[in-house]
């Protein structure tokens, strides 16, 4: 928890997403290390799933490649450990769908993720209504105070009363989905984003981070003026995945977005 809190000392923060195993496992570890050491404040480390229903084409394709090359939950957790061994100190949040975690065994998954050095979880198909089981597993072994956070998501469609009940119990930060839709770049940032962020802030003092649809440093700067954190997924995956020198590209990518947010 403290690692996450520390990450928000200099806001807005830059939070790229990258899936382990893409374009292959060693490269993805190098890429995440490069992002971490060149400007990322927090990284969403992607766990792959065969049916990523909240994701657009870029992340679908990348996670599909990762699966074809043999990524598993176990290898993903080992890679998080490897990143810690390489001196990556920023928070690493595991982002993935629920079924592979269930298949691994929830208690074991949470235990092993913590041991590996992960700092929290984002699970797009686990809304508040279904979060209890995971929350119980999180606090089960270590108590509520020590539990890693399950980051809750809010969407433009969430009505006020729902925002309130989700935001009230928010841990770590709020992941605010900026558009109705799946992950992927959009031409423009919605004019209503400021209003949406204000609606969330009315209910919580937790940092509000915005994701979905942010593809350029300019857009990041635009969102960064309003939010506490800027999440960049598809653009990051696309740029690095299509590069002949992924690690170099990752360094540039992180530096560029970092620069745009200062």
């Amino acid at each position: 928890m403290n690692r996450i809190k520390n990450a928000f000392k200099n806001k807005p923060i830059f939070m790229p997403y990258f899936p382990l195993g893409y374009p292959d496992l060693p490269t993805s570890i190098d890429v995440i290390e490069a992002l971490a050491k060149n400007g990322a404040d927090l990284i969403e480390v992607g766990l792959s799933f065969s049916d990523p229903l909240a994701d657009g084409p870029v992340i679908q394709q990348a996670t599909q490649v990762a699966l074809e090359k043999g990524i598993t939950v176990k290898k993903s957790l080992e890679s998080v450990k490897e990143l810690r061994n390489r001196g990556v100190t920023i928070p690493l949040i595991l982002m993935g769908y629920f079924n592979p975690m269930l298949a691994y065994g929830l208690e074991k998954f949470i235990h092993d993720a913590r041991e590996a050095g992960a700092n929290g979880f984002i699970i797009p198909d686990l809304p508040l209504e279904e979060a209890e089981e995971f929350e119980l597993a999180l606090s089960g072994a270590v108590g509520e105070d020590e539990a890693l956070p399950l980051i809750q998501m809010l969407a433009p469609t969430s009505p006020d009363e729902r925002m309130e009940s989700i935001a009230r119990t928010a841990k770590g930060f709020i992941y605010l989905v900026s558009v109705t839709g799946v992950t992927g770049e959009r031409r423009e940032i919605s004019d209503d984003l400021g209003e949406l962020i204000n609606r969330v802030r009315a209910h919580t003092s937790a940092p509000v981070c915005v994701g979905f649809g942010i593809g350029t440093p300019e857009q990041a700067a635009q969102v960064g003026a309003l939010a506490d954190g800027v999440i960049v997924g598809s653009a990051c995956v696309k740029m690095i995945g299509s590069s002949k020198k992924p690690v170099e590209t990752a360094k540039q990518f992180a530096a560029e977005f970092r620069g745009a947010l200062r």
């Binding site: 508040l128 209504e129 998501m153």
Partner: protein
């Protein structure tokens, strides 16, 4: 934590495992469904369409020659193949389309495997003046061509899905992605007793007309309830529809038939209850149920000669009925289904859908083990015209 109006789980199964963006839509849908079911005007409109448009009640046919051939139980067919558009799918499609009108939405998206639900959705959309987009895996498009043309004729846009296994599961992924993007004016017209709450309940309720009619017709025609009710189970909407009429009649045995594909041992099948090595409780498409998956929780590829049964998960209420042993589940292979298909053609003059042929295959196994004074009711969920290309390919020159 849940504050749903209706029970959102069936024992440990079901639930609402969807992105937050969709939660408000599910809450609205449930509210609208509850208010509609309590509204006599809505029910009257639904009943009227069922009668004047779908042609309900569908008949109950005594299968005399099939019964004689098998030499055991007397066999009755509930003729959902005679419903407009050729399958039971229209019951749910029209019911949900009426809800869409009530919610003031203008557009529906649907997934389809065999094409029957796509055709039913396109039909309901045409009837009620809604825009309709149907997602269909490109593998399924190839094997169910006639239905693709039918959907287009009815004014729907058919979008081929090239991701993943290019079958029903991927069509559902794409339909959900469309829905999450356009949720403010779009309804996802889910075709089976699957997905997040309230869908499994809504679909069962609209399909329960099958069971209500069949129970009444059995009492009228045979003078008694059946000993056994048999239906095929993909997601499980026709089965849950017919089962719902008999679930409180404890003496009536309920049997669901899954797709055994090339046989359980081959690994190429869609028998969620039949393969202990690959089927575990998991979460897919918003619901917790039995799912065919690998050790790492990745959803497995499935196989069946019938596109409508070719899916890795089973409706959550079936999972509960199975655990409580209120219903029993078995499977029929592609070969058994194709044989049953031909048997019904020859003995009764009825061309069944390949999906329904799985239920007939179980009848062929089960009837001879029963006495002549016993009765089997089988839900003939759809007609087989759509499958002729597949059957010609499978049977080749042997026909």
């Amino acid at each position: 934590m849940s504050t749903t109006l209706l029970p959102h789980k069936f024992g440990p199964y079901g639930g609402q495992f969807v992105p937050e963006t969709l939660m408000p839509a599910l809450i609205e849908l449930e509210r609208e469904f509850v208010s509609a079911r309590n509204d006599p005007a809505f029910n009257a409109e639904f009943d009227k369409l069922m009668a004047s448009f779908v042609g309900r009640p569908t008949p109950l046919t005594y299968a005399k020659r099939l019964s004689e051939k098998l030499g055991g139980a007397q066999i009755y067919l509930k003729r959902e193949d005679l419903a407009h558009t050729g399958a039971h799918k229209i019951n749910n499609a029209l019911g949900q389309a009426l809800l869409v009108k009530r919610m003031g939405k203008k557009r529906i998206v649907a997934e389809t495997g065999a094409g029957q639900h796509g055709v039913a959705s396109a039909t309901a959309a045409a009837l009620l003046g809604l825009e309709c987009v149907v997602y269909m895996g490109s593998v399924d498009i190839a094997r169910q061509e006639p239905n693709v043309f039918r959907m287009k004729l009815l004014g729907a846009e058919v979008r081929p899905v090239e991701s993943g296994t290019k079958t029903l599961k991927d069509a559902i992924n794409e339909a959900i992605r469309d829905w999450v993007t356009n949720v403010r004016d779009t309804h996802y017209l889910l075709g089976s007793a699957l997905g997040p709450h309230p869908y499994p309940t809504i679909v069962r309720e609209f399909q329960s007309v099958i069971g209500r009619e069949a129970r009444e017709q059995m009492l009228m025609d045979a003078g008694r309830l059946p000993d056994t009710v048999i239906a095929c189970v993909g997601g499980g909407s026709n089965a849950i529809g017919v089962f719902s009429g008999f679930v409180n009649d404890e003496a009536v045995e309920l049997i669901g038939v899954e797709a055994g594909g090339s046989g359980i041992a081959s690994g190429k099948h869609a028998a969620r209850f039949g393969d202990a090595t690959k089927a575990r409780v998991g979460v897919i498409h918003g619901t917790r149920t039995y799912v065919l998956q690998d050790e790492d929780g990745q959803i497995a590829e499935t196989h069946s000669v019938s596109a409508g049964l070719d899916y890795a998960a089973v409706g959550p209420e079936h999972a509960m009925l199975r655990d409580t042993e209120r219903a029993f589940y078995t499977s029929a292979t592609d070969e058994e289904a194709l044989n049953a298909f031909q048997t019904l053609c020859h003995t009764e003059g009825i061309i069944p859908a390949l999906e329904s042929s799985h239920a007939i295959a179980e009848v062929i196994k089960k009837a001879p083990t029963m006495r002549k004074d016993q009765v089997i009711l089988v839900n003939l969920s759809g007609r087989g015209d759509k499958d002729l290309n597949t059957v010609i390919k499978e049977l080749g020159t042997s026909m």
